[in-house]
Amino acid sequence: MAELAGCYAASHGPLLVRDWAAVPEHEKKRINAGFRELGRRVSAARADVIIEVSPDHWVNFHLENLPAVCIGVGETHEGPPEPFLKAYPHREMAGDADFARHLVASALGAGFEPSFSYRLKLDHGFCIPLWRMELERLPRIVPMIVNSIEPPMPSLERCLQWGGLLRAAIESYPGPLRVAVLASGGLSHSIGEPTMGRIDEAFDHECIRLFSQDQQKLLQYLKDAIPGAGNGADEMRNWLVAHGAARGRGFELIDYLPVPSVYVGCGFASWAME
């Protein structure tokens, strides 16, 4: 049977690549260290597959059809289309079609209704953490796109439930797979709106504190505070998916730092496996 190998979370942002030179040296060091530590943990977990949870930044979907959740069931996925990610080392990334289809079937059987895609492009939200973690071997990727870009979005409760669903699907898969969950995005940031550039450190610190507390308090806080923490804070949905997969326990912050030059409150975290 398959097992959950680990749950992880990391921030992303185009400027972490496109304008890396503008990031002050002491922040670069901590960002690199955060990603590398995550990479070390993912490698130590010997994950065969990573379910990576990230938004789609208008790369695969537009207003014609914008799924709340879409799971990539392809044998392969395309590398990032953004010009600033030309140097990303994988133009194509292996998926795990059997496991991904099992995940979709498990979701549908449990009353969740994801869309699925046989061909996804994985944008910077997916690829920056995968790149910066400096993994020697890239596990097969099962992308899970959660809409945190354009309202209305999936509820926070549903995202937490999705985490539980992921775990159940992993544990019911008959193959001997080790599957990790990697949430990409958050913490606070504000893009393309009048508060652009603002990082809400109080929000970020309270989120971090509450990930180690009662789930209902965390959900209530996020519900109340996300609307004032910038539109990028909607990506905390992805952290909730990872948190749900970890049964809401074992959260460990690796590092947090506000990085004004990339507009993002950058966090790196993992959850201890029971």
């Binding site: 930044h57 208008w58 537009h62 652009m196």
Partner: protein, 81 residues
Amino acid sequence: MRDYWLSKMFYDLQDPAVAAQYRENREQVFARYPLSSDAKKALGENDVPWLAKRINPYLLRFYCFGIGMKDEEFMRRLRDG
């Protein structure tokens, strides 16, 4: 509420070929979409607050970056008009 056709044009402008054509001759690209005269006027004037009411913030940022507007200028226009 989003302006679908304006959004659609911004989405399509992520294609470097369409973006190149837009830089060369905006009107040719406009002609593919039923854009309102107000939308064309806002595009002509880089009226960021007007656009921000009708376009997803991430797409708007992409568009403004694509036409060469620096982030500082984009942020100023978002705040102050």
